[in-house]
């Protein structure tokens, strides 16, 4: 039996839609799931059918930030969510906007937020569907995170979720995990320059990888790369406060980065930094491909 899925877009850029289209085994996916509605993929129902009726379906996917003011086909997106959330088995917030509000939390719509969260703050509405919801943050969501979560729902897997309802399978990791620049971080070699393969971007360029929960360096993007591997600081796009400000700079207090790696205290960090800096590893001071 194919599972029936409704993909509903709210205040979005459709980046999650296009990220999903990058899923390499989409043929298999479409054998196992059927969209009763999707932004781009053909479906049996029109948007008007969807908003005016309650078409039977199993999973509701929500992309984009949510405001009562925002409508799809002349119906408030909140009303559509209220209608479908009653009948589906699961609700999945696809992306940081739908989960925490994201970039479009700042759009011109009134009281814009994620489904259950306004950044870190838990919201009171939709309490009755809280236990049905799985959050998949990311700007955009990695297609594998989305697809594999949907398969887990299909198989009735008991997903372990974090405090923001994100599956730990994907969000227990940090972006730092698996970054090819890790050694530069560990030994506090902070001579990163843009356009180079070497150096850690945490110290000066605002890289948020050590405290951002996501699997970007574990499952890689488009099967080939990640932002930090390429040399772009992690902007923390899976976290509630995305986007922070001054993204290319590391905010520091008395020379110490304000945001430390997950679970590391300031005192411990200073001690550790003192020791590792003492190593002075030549290999990490020069270019990777130098003789």
């Amino acid at each position: 039996m194919k599972m029936r899925v409704l993909w509903l877009s709210a205040i979005a850029c459709n980046g999650n839609t296009h990220s999903f289209l990058n899923y390499p085994y989409i043929e298999q996916f479409l054998n196992d799931f059927e969209f009763i509605y999707h932004q781009v993929i053909d479906s049996a129902y029109s948007l008007e059918d969807i908003v005016l009726n309650q078409i039977p379906c199993d999973i509701l996917l929500i992309e984009g930030a949510i405001s009562r003011e925002f409508q799809r086909a002349d119906v408030s997106v909140i009303e559509i969510i209220e209608s479908y959330s009653k009948i589906v088995q699961k609700i999945v917030t696809v992306g940081t906007c739908a989960t925490f509000g994201g970039i479009f939390r700042e759009s011109d719509y009134e009281n814009t937020s994620g489904l259950h969260f306004n950044q870190e703050k838990s919201l009171g509405n939709f309490q009755d569907i809280l236990d049905k919801t799985v959050s998949l943050s990311g700007c955009p969501v990695h297609p594998e995170v989305l697809v594999n979560t949907l398969y887990a729902i299909k198989k009735s897997v008991n997903l372990k979720l974090d405090n923001f309802l994100r599956p730990k399978e994907f969000y227990a990791y940090t972006v730092h995990n698996g970054c090819t620049r890790n050694e530069y971080f560990e030994y506090k070699v902070d001579n990163h320059k843009f356009g180079e393969l070497e150096g850690c971007m945490y110290y000066d360029h605002g890289c948020q990888a050590p405290y951002t929960h996501a699997s970007c360096n574990k499952i890689l993007w488009n099967e080939v790369n990640s932002k930090t591997r390429a040399g772009l600081p992690c902007m923390g796009c899976t976290e509630p406060k995305f986007p922070k400000q001054n993204l290319f700079e590391t905010k520091k207090n008395m020379g110490i980065p304000e945001y430390l790696p997950v679970g590391v205290g300031k005192r411990t960090y200073l001690t550790l930094a003192g020791i590792t800096k003492a190593f002075n590893i030549q290999r990490l001071q020069k270019k990777l491909f130098d003789d």
Binding site: N14, G15, H18, Y23, V40, Q71, D108, C139, K193, G195
Partner: protein, 419 residues
């Protein structure tokens, strides 16, 4: 009669007015806006590099390139290496290509009564996504182009991988889109020659002929294109007369009463932007032939967009050959942007046409930001007296389904139009 047009990355309402059973006016309404320009106000300049790709999930990379070039234009004497310039151009080409595949297979073919073949859209567009991710870290939504260059360094191994993605895409074109050598397709001069071949593109073009739709979708025959690079030229074209002296100051946005989307005109006239406009300005022989025979119709518009795939693949190969890996990817600007109060603008060719960004900085913070997207040009909702490009293209049609087809040949994107 109002029809909700969907599957356009959002939705729009077309209000059709009929006279003597023919459409005599269409009012276009976009019902929402996110107003990303407001979000940018007060943010530090470089944050725009992260925020702006989020204007659109399908052409976010064009917004990145437009952002970085607008910020760079605020500087005097900023140095960018040729390598960085070429890499930016390459990744932008790849984004254009992936868009054209998606548009043709997901949007266009079903409108001609064919079953939607998702894999034919996603397989080649995924290859192009990989090619962008190779340098940008991911696709969609990278910010890999920064003021002064690009963040990646590339090796010969990266180039080898990149060539494989391109060759696979070329193979897909030759096996599916048009069963001729992609290189020959990119230099083909005659429509009649194209029609002799097998493949999804000639099939659709033949169907247009057979169903006598050749006169459908004609507008003013006025084209404009601002984004210059090593392939695209800047200019405007009235039918086939090209004038390369055009100025961004004459491109103006205006608000409309009925829609959240702002209109865009050049010297108070509406112009078509996009692959057909680029080809006309570039004097591409194949498209000139199509235009001579069938004007700015759906036939020419579809052919122009799809043939751009092979042209850009070929041109990308050329760019790769010229890359000098010893050049720096990034040259640090001598002045910190925080000391800056300046303004600048940029124009790049996005998949759907000319994209313009204008920025005003005060002490490194964004005081004002203005984005003009390609779809605003094409989908401007004018008055009966002065109709927008797509409005004009729908006049005289008998049925709404055909009008929707014509409308969608402009590669409509709701999120871009309203940003």
């Amino acid at each position: 009669m109002i029809k909700l047009i969907e599957k356009i990355e959002g939705e729009a309402k077309l209000n059709f007015n009929f006279k003597d059973n023919k459409i005599d006016f269409v009012d276009i309404e976009f019902m929402s806006t996110r107003n990303i320009e407001n979000i940018l106000k007060g943010k530090s300049a470089f944050d725009a590099l992260v925020i702006n790709p989020r204007v659109c999930g399908i052409c976010g990379h064009a917004h990145l390139i437009a952002t970085v070039e607008a910020l760079e234009s605020c500087y005097d004497n900023l140095q960018i290496s040729n390598k960085a310039k070429s890499l930016r151009e390459l990744t932008l080409n790849f984004e254009l290509i992936q868009n054209h595949f998606k548009w043709f297979y997901l949007t266009m073919m079903p409108l001609f009564g064919h079953k939607q073949e998702v894999l034919k859209a996603t397989y080649p567009s995924q290859l192009m996504g990989k090619a962008i991710a190779l340098f940008g870290g991911q696709y969609p939504h990278t910010s890999y182009a920064v003021v002064g260059g690009v963040v990646c360094d590339i090796t010969e191994m990266d180039i080898i991988k990149l060539q494989h993605y391109i060759e696979q895409t070329v193979k897909f074109v030759e096996d599916n889109l048009i069963k001729m050598e992609s290189e020959s397709f990119s230099t083909c001069k005659s429509v009649d020659n194209i029609l002799k071949y097998e493949g999804d593109l000639p099939d659709i073009l033949r169907q247009i002929k057979k169903e006598e739709l050749l006169a459908y979708g004609k507008s003013y025959g006025r084209f404009i294109s601002f984004g210059e690079n090593s392939y695209f030229k800047k200019g405007k074209s009235l039918k086939t007369r090209v004038n390369n002296n055009i100025f961004i100051e004459h491109a103006k946005e205006s608000e409309t009463a009925t829609s959240f989307a702002k209109n865009v005109s050049y010297k108070d006239k509406y112009y078509e932007v996009g692959p057909l406009a680029r080809a006309m300005v570039n004097k591409n022989k194949l498209i000139l032939d199509a235009h001579r025979k069938y004007g700015d119709s759906i036939f020419s518009r579809i052919l122009a967009r799809v043939s751009e795939i092979s042209q850009l693949l070929k041109h990308s190969k050329k760019l790769i050959q010229k890359l000098d890996l010893n050049e720096p990817s990034y040259i640090e600007p001598c002045i910190d942007i925080k000391q800056f109060s300046s303004s600048g603008y940029s124009a790049v060719e996005a998949a759907r046409g000319t994209l313009i960004h204008k920025v005003e900085l005060e002490n490194g913070f964004i005081k004002n930001y203005e984005i003009i997207t390609p779809t605003q040009w094409n989908l401007s909702g004018g008055t009966r007296e002065k109709q927008g490009v797509s409005q004009k293209a729908m006049i005289g049609l008998y049925d709404i389904k055909m009008a929707e087809l014509v409308f969608k040949t402009f590669d409509v994107c709701s999120v871009c139009t309203t940003h």
